[in-house]
């Protein structure tokens, strides 16, 4: 007996139908994609991006008597570049805003708004949230917006992360922020999250240097923040401000490690196995080290009479140097017994 044929809707079509339904159910009434008049745009004074130029400057022009005239003029020039692309191609990504009374407060897209005004546009495409996003959501949007920006200073980035953590803790309760958690919140890589965390907890001198724009690299700041010794940190910080590379900073830190690791040699450690009855004198590939040790001992008045024994040693040969060192140890053992 043949089986009855069954009919159905293709998998692709079923998926398409469900996806469209899910998009509406999950997103409608939360935000809407629309076009808003630029005359009703307001910038967010709490946005961690500290753009000096404001709506008034763009609408009415800069004033020479403005104390921030020079910085604003620089920003205006950069905005003009963006404005020319907006004039020719429009704004590619809509801004993100929320309704605040009669105005739309910008969550992300300040520069696009200002540049659109410069480009003589009247409206701008926007994703408008129906309500003010909650603290953490708002900061997260601003972080996502800012993170792709090359002209954002390290201080602004750190400020953004700090706000993000504060809002996160405010919403989810005080809890320790680990690099893994920060990675989860921000989608940063784990090393980047680790760097940000160490810079957030940096000592005052480093923080001030970042604030003043003297330290601009996250990698360098994180490296300096990790130095335990105040003295070495100050040295590294000064070197960084003077333009030292990461490699040069690493050298300074390596020196610190050498110094700080010395007492560790003397530390008592629980040992397993047989009790040691001999001292291992170590080994080196540098024969001059052996020559230096031998000559140092021989220069002592108690030992200079043995100089003749070592007069024929070819110090550049490992076998000669090894035999010479063994001889020296032998002499010393004899002298110490006396």
């Amino acid at each position: 007996m043949t089986k009855k044929k069954r009919f159905g809707v293709s998998q692709a079509l079923t998926r398409g139908l469900s996806e469209a339904i899910n998009v509406v159910e999950n997103n409608a009434a939360i935000y809407r994609n629309t076009v808003v008049p630029l005359s009703r745009i307001e910038l967010d004074p709490d946005n961690p991006r500290k753009l000096t130029i404001n709506l008034n400057d763009v609408r009415n022009g800069l004033k020479k008597e403005d104390p921030h005239y020079e910085k604003k003029a620089e920003e205006l020039e950069r905005l003009k570049e963006l404005a020319s692309t907006i004039e020719s191609s429009g704004v590619i990504n809509p801004i993100v805003a929320y309704k605040l009374g009669e105005f739309y407060r910008v969550v992300a897209g300040e520069r696009r708004c200002l540049a659109s005004i410069l480009a003589k546009k009247n409206e701008i495409e926007a994703r408008v949230f129906n309500e003010k996003p909650k603290g953490f959501g708002l900061k997260l949007v601003q972080w996502i917006e800012n993170t792709a920006r090359e002209d954002l200073t390290l201080d602004e980035r750190i400020g953004n992360i700090r706000d993000l953590i504060r809002e996160y803790q405010g919403e989810r309760g005080e809890q320790g922020i680990t690099a893994t958690l920060l990675k989860h919140i921000t989608s940063l890589s784990l090393p980047q999250a680790t760097y940000y965390l160490s810079v957030l907890n940096a000592p005052d001198d480093l923080r001030k240097a970042i604030e003043h724009g003297q330290v601009r690299s996250l990698d360098k700041a994180a490296m300096i923040a990790g130095i335990d010794s105040d003295e070495v940190r100050r040295e590294a910080l000064t070197a960084c401000i003077n333009g030292s590379s990461l490699k040069e900073l690493r050298k300074i830190i390596a020196r610190e490690k050498l110094v700080s690791s010395q007492p560790k040699i003397m530390r008592e450690k629980a040992k397993r196995g047989r009790v040691a009855s001999r001292i291992n004198m170590g080994s080196t590939a540098n024969a001059k080290v052996v020559q230096a040790i031998v000559q140092s001992v021989l220069s002592h008045t108690n030992f200079n009479r043995y100089s003749e024994i070592f007069s024929q040693v070819a110090w550049d040969r490992y076998d000669h140097a090894t035999r010479a060192f063994r001889k020296l140890v032998e002499i010393l053992e004899q002298e110490m017994v006396r």
Partner: protein, 289 residues
């Protein structure tokens, strides 16, 4: 004022029949002042209530007859040719709805050539010239004062006319035959619903009443496809629990000089009337409750 549109970009799925049933149910059975709008250049919905005429300028299309209120000696009508269709909204002119044989139902008929012209507007101009116009018209105080319900029959397309309906509607119903191609039409409409929903203010959402299985036959094909939609967790919420069967009587009442003219004139025991009432009552309950 509730604005109900029957949409599906696949033709022949019963949009006009559903629009007709709904307009008649609201006006005749529920006595709700209703405006029917024909947004389909084929003008079949208009032809149900008016003697549409062949347009001499475009012989393949129909145009509305002379309006009964038109008087050649009325000085107010000097600039009016006596005909009025819903497509006047695209030309900045007023729309004068026609009365129908039903007391509470007026009709803004289609005009084939003018609707086709609106559908063909260039992409750069379409937003201002087409998309917003129907919503502007329905938001006018005159329309809101005159009607409590608007029923729109739409063109089988995803073009500017249907987008315009999506922007103006408060509720949409997607009638579909349970076959592969009409179900693809559902997808097209869900895409427009999605775009419009994401562009709407929170306080005026575009509600999808659901997918109405139409012209349903007790065949394996129809039953299997309906079951397939009902078994999908996301889609099943939008498959209406009522349906309209394939019945010759729905075609018979469409015929000129048909008697009775409305399915709701049939006897209470008539199975087609019972089915139509069940469907319309369900949709009305969802919209007006």
């Amino acid at each position: 004022m509730k604005v109900i549109a029957f949409v599906n970009n696949k033709g022949g799925v019963g949009k006009t029949t559903c629009s007709k049933l709904m307009a008649e149910y609201l006006s005749k059975v529920k006595k709700i002042p209703t405006l029917g709008i024909d947004f389909d250049p084929q003008c079949n919905f208009s032809h149900q209530y008016l003697k549409m005429e062949i347009d001499p300028a475009a012989p393949e299309g129909l145009m509305p007859p002379i309006h009964p209120d038109y008087a050649t000696d009325d000085p107010d009508h000097i600039d009016w040719d006596g005909r009025s269709s819903i497509s006047e909204i695209f030309y900045g002119q007023g729309v004068v709805p026609y009365p129908t044989y039903l007391q509470h139902l007026d009709l803004a008929p289609g005009h084939a050539e003018k609707l086709l012209a609106a559908e063909a507007v260039r992409k750069s101009e379409v937003v201002d010239k087409v998309h917003k116009q129907l919503a502007n018209f329905l938001n006018s105080e005159d329309v809101k004062a005159a009607y409590d319900a608007v029923v729109i029959d739409t063109a089988p397309s995803k073009g500017p006319l249907t987008v315009s309906v999506m922007k103006a509607a408060t509720h949409i119903v997607i009638p579909s035959v349970m076959e592969e191609q009409p179900v693809q039409g559902i997808y097209g409409m869900l895409q427009l619903w999605m775009q419009e929903s994401l562009a709407r203010e929170k306080d005026r959402p575009l509600k999808l009443i659901g997918i109405l299985p139409n012209m349903f036959k007790q065949t394996r094909l129809h039953k299997d496809i309906l079951k397939c939609l009902q078994e999908n967790p996301a889609i099943s919420k939008y498959v209406l629990p009522v349906s309209l069967s394939q019945r010759i009587v729905f075609a018979e009442i469409d015929a000129e000089e048909a008697n009775p003219r409305s399915i709701f004139d049939y006897s209470v025991s008539h199975v087609a009337k019972q089915e139509a009432e069940e469907v319309c009552a369900y949709i009305t309950e969802r919209i007006f409750s």
